[in-house]
């Protein structure tokens, strides 16, 4: 395969970015509808079913409503930070998509419509295959804390400040457990790249090679930490309706509020996609007979998103001190112990993927 010149590389990357961006935005819109419907069915009611057939146009209606609401900056608020905070949240939420891998490589067909240098080329279904794959996502979610901190502070409101500080403290506490839960997987795969970790989960027994089975405690820690990381129930105290008004986004209306909601849902999609790649085998199929394909990845992503909605409809929320106690005194020790166990097992079994 001839190497590409940099304008060609740039075009390919921009095309991938546009494609992934559109996919995630569509998934976000669909998620808002699906969440309300599924929650409603779990609570033995119907949910939105009037706007369009089966209520499918509800996201459109929500978008139009939010667009036409009054844009309001509270008096005494720090204007720059107030406007910057939702923008920062959204930017860091979307930045994490760059290393998510939807599948292996796709060989573009030799159509006449495609330019010559693209025909028959193998294109990886990933925007950027960084050497530091999952660490990049860790870094970007660390930056996501600032959007919330800025939002809480800039509204010049005691309640939003406390809500913002609580929410960001929760986020970076569970981020530690999140990162620690990935370490055993990285030890097994010997690499930070997501495609490498997915490929390490391939095997003749299909499902049983997945990290969710082989590294079950890490999987449990990951699920709990990621739920807390995206501020979902049962960890959504900072933004619950009955606490502190609406937490850090009380003073936001219209498009800024829509951006904050978008950031939250895209974060949720990112951690679900990461869980599907790192723990549920990504694009590998659960049975060895069926072929691997990106469709498996999408199915697993939707399964984890359904799990998030299920948790929201079922569990009561944690009190803040219970939440912090659980994050620091339960999850982090369990994750650290499991790293020890995995490292010891790798050493005993002859080094695993870590070679001198």
């Amino acid at each position: 395969m001839t190497p590409l010149s940099w304008p060609q590389e740039l075009t390919l990357v921009v095309a991938k970015i546009l494609l992934f961006f559109t996919l995630i935005l569509t998934l976000f819109a669909v998620m808002t509808y699906v969440e309300r419907r599924v929650l409603a069915f779990m609570q033995f009611r119907l949910g939105p079913n009037r706007t369009g057939p089966f209520g499918l146009l509800q996201p459109v209606a929500d978008g139009i409503k939010l667009f036409f609401k009054e844009e309001f900056v509270p008096p005494g608020a720090d204007r720059w930070l107030f406007v910057l905070a939702p923008a920062l949240s959204v930017v860091t939420a979307f930045l994490a998509i760059a290393v998510l891998s939807f599948g292996g490589s796709v060989t573009l067909p030799a159509w006449g419509l495609l330019p010559g240098w693209l025909q028959g080329r193998e294109v990886a279904l990933q925007i950027a295959d960084l050497e530091i794959g999952v660490l990049y996502i860790f870094a970007v979610t660390s930056l996501g804390v600032y959007g919330i901190v800025m939002a809480g502070w800039s509204a010049n409101n005691k309640y939003t400040l406390i809500g913002g500080l609580r929410s960001s403290a929760q986020m970076f506490s569970y981020e530690l457990a999140l990162g620690l839960s990935w370490v055993p997987l990285i030890m097994l795969a010997g690499s930070f790249r997501i495609p490498d970790i997915v490929r390490q989960q391939e095997g003749p027994l299909g499902l049983l090679h997945w990290n969710a089975v082989v590294q079950f405690p890490a999987f449990v820690v990951y699920l709990i930490a990621s739920t807390a990381e995206v501020n979902r129930t049962p960890f959504d105290l900072p933004e619950a309706e009955t606490e502190l008004v609406a937490g850090f986004h009380t003073e936001y209306s219209s498009m800024k509020f829509a951006l904050i909601q978008m950031a939250e849902y895209v974060n949720m999609i990112t951690v679900a996609a990461l869980g599907a790649s790192l723990f549920l085998g990504g694009w590998t199929s659960p049975l060895a007979l069926l072929p691997d394909s990106p469709a498996w990845f999408v199915l697993k992503l939707l399964a984890i998103l359904f799990l998030f909605i299920w948790l929201r409809g079922t569990l009561p929320r944690f009190r803040y001190d219970q939440l912090m106690h659980f994050g620091w005194k339960v999850l982090v020790p369990i994750a650290a112990l499991w790293i020890l166990v995995t490292g010891g097992a790798l050493l005993l079994m002859g080094g695993g993927a870590v070679r001198p």
């Binding site: 870094a139 600032y146 901190v149």
Partner: protein, 164 residues
């Protein structure tokens, strides 16, 4: 070629936001400027072939240490600084002169003696850095650092508690 352009862009950003850290009256804006500086420095590390340190800079510095700073600023109520008292009026001029002298001296040393270009094909991948970090040479430093962090943890809790 594009590496050099990006380097100058991020260097300008780093200098501008560092100026913001030093010159802004509101300490909260100084903190945000410092975050911008840290992120642009991280980009420069990436351009200098050190992806691991670049990511570590964001995770540790911009993502954890600065959050600590922001928390303390927001909880203790950061107020804008007033102008210095009468006796200290000459201080900004003298400080600027001394610091400019320092910068000029260091710059002359750099331009005289520092190497001009990097080693080609240099890539400080995580694996290579780990091989050096966990080797016998840095073993003592590594273990001592972990005890240092433990001491800092205990010390921070002890100092900030209302009553022990």
């Amino acid at each position: 070629m594009i590496d050099a352009i990006l380097f100058y862009v991020f260097a300008a950003l780093a200098l501008g936001s560092a100026l913001g850290v030093v010159a802004q009256r509101n300490p909260l804006y100084s903190a945000f400027s410092l975050i911008v500086t840290l992120c642009s420095l991280s980009a420069i590390y990436g351009l200098l072939g050190s992806p691991f340190i670049a990511v570590l800079q964001i995770v540790v510095y911009a993502g954890a240490i600065m959050v600590l700073f922001l928390f303390v600023l927001m909880l203790l109520g950061a107020r804008r600084e007033e102008a210095p008292a009468r006796q200290g009026r000459a201080l900004p001029g003298v400080a600027l002169a001394l610091v400019a002298l320092l910068a000029l001296q260091v710059a002359s040393v750099i331009l005289g003696a520092a190497p001009a270009a990097g080693t080609p094909g240099f890539e400080a991948t995580t694996r290579k850095v780990a091989e050096v970090l966990f080797s016998v040479r840095f073993l003592y430093a590594f273990e001592a650092t972990s005890i240092l962090i433990l001491a800092a943890l205990v010390g921070a809790v002890a100092l900030a508690k209302r009553q022990l």
